[in-house]
């Protein structure tokens, strides 16, 4: 009888403590989970957390900037003379393309603007077309075979338009190099420039995408009479 009772007590103790152990592990794990759960935090705890994380984020951002500068510095330091010459050459080529010192080829759009009366398309329309093309990231533009550079201006002429003092007459042939799809949609957007000009009597607008277009270089070197280079 005593042995039976002892066995029963033994099993009771064993099972009860097993349940206790299980509950303890469950509680430890749940508590860890709750501590990591943002939803269970108070406003004070959260604001402290946000402040700490913001400070840490600022510090890390500053470190990123420092490391980038260091990286750029070390890249420059590593470059050989030949690489430097190459880089200079590349940037000079790019500058020449942008300023129009050399002619350029590439994909883009060609816009042909016919004006049978010869007086309805004015210099402001031309400015607007150039502006629209530049907004659509045109890299080189020419009107009637003349490069539009940073100095080009349009004004009213006796018969047609004066482009930097040079007389141009319709049909206007405008060539722009850049992403053909973007340039095309910029010119032909509903209610846009082409639609407005096309509605004028005697004016006809045609816009074509082309894979290979040619834009000549500037034919007059600008004179920097008043602007001079700032030395470092």
């Amino acid at each position: 009888m005593a042995a039976l009772r002892s066995t029963r007590i033994g099993w009771g103790l064993f099972l009860t403590f097993a349940v206790l152990g299980f509950l303890l592990v469950l509680q430890f794990r749940t508590h860890q989970q709750v501590e990591a759960d943002l939803a269970s935090m108070s406003v004070d705890e959260l604001s402290v957390l946000v402040a700490t994380l913001s400070r840490e984020s600022e510090r890390l951002q500053a470190e990123v900037v420092d490391l980038r500068l260091e990286l750029i510095g070390s890249q420059y330091a590593r470059k050989t003379d030949a690489e430097m010459v190459d880089e200079r050459r590349r940037s000079r080529d790019e500058l020449e393309l942008v300023t129009g010192a050399i002619s350029a080829v590439g994909p883009g759009v060609r816009m042909v603007l016919t004006d049978t009366r010869g007086s309805l398309v004015g210099p402001y329309d031309m400015c607007e077309i150039i502006n629209e093309l530049r907004v659509a990231a045109a890299r080189a533009i020419a009107v009637n075979g003349h490069r539009v550079d940073f100095n080009t201006g349009f004004s009213e002429g006796a018969a047609g338009i004066l482009m930097s003092g040079r007389h141009i007459s319709p049909p206007y042939d405008i060539v722009a190099l850049g992403n053909p799809a973007e340039l095309h949609s910029a010119l032909l957007m509903p209610g846009g420039l082409a639609a407005r000009l096309g509605s004028l009597p005697g004016v006809h607008v045609e816009v074509h995408r082309q894979e290979q277009l040619h834009v000549p270089s500037v034919d007059r070197t600008p004179l920097f009479q008043y602007a001079t280079r700032v030395e470092d």
Partner: protein
């Protein structure tokens, strides 16, 4: 006989912890509070059992029923407190906490004696 019985709680606890580690069951955070009070009650009952065993007044029926009902009641009281907007949770923590320390003190005395 009693000496042999002392190993059983340790074995049981080890088994329970082992099962707990093996079974990856997570209690939803909403019920975390109930579980914490229930665990406190279970711990108190278990230590009460050890104390009774050492004092040779152990009754297995009393022990198991106490363990089960205390655990469930503690969770229920906390739940009730939440519904009523009264922190009955604190009452349970204080009550079980005090008893826990008392039991521990008695066990310590019995061991030292």
């Amino acid at each position: 006989m009693v000496k042999r019985l002392y190993y059983l709680p340790i074995l049981g606890l080890t088994l329970g912890v082992g099962i707990g580690l093996l079974i990856r069951y997570d209690v939803p955070p909403t019920y975390a509070r109930y579980l914490s009070v229930a665990v406190l009650a279970a711990l108190d009952s278990a230590l009460g059992g050890v104390r009774a065993l050492m004092e040779r007044t152990f009754n297995d029926r009393l022990f198991i029923s106490g363990f089960v009902t205390n655990t469930i009641l503690a969770a229920l009281i906390t739940f009730l407190g939440d519904r009523l907007g009264v922190n009955l949770y604190l009452a349970a923590v204080v009550a079980f906490g005090v008893r826990l320390f008392q039991n521990l003190a008695v066990i310590r005395r019995l061991i030292v004696k």
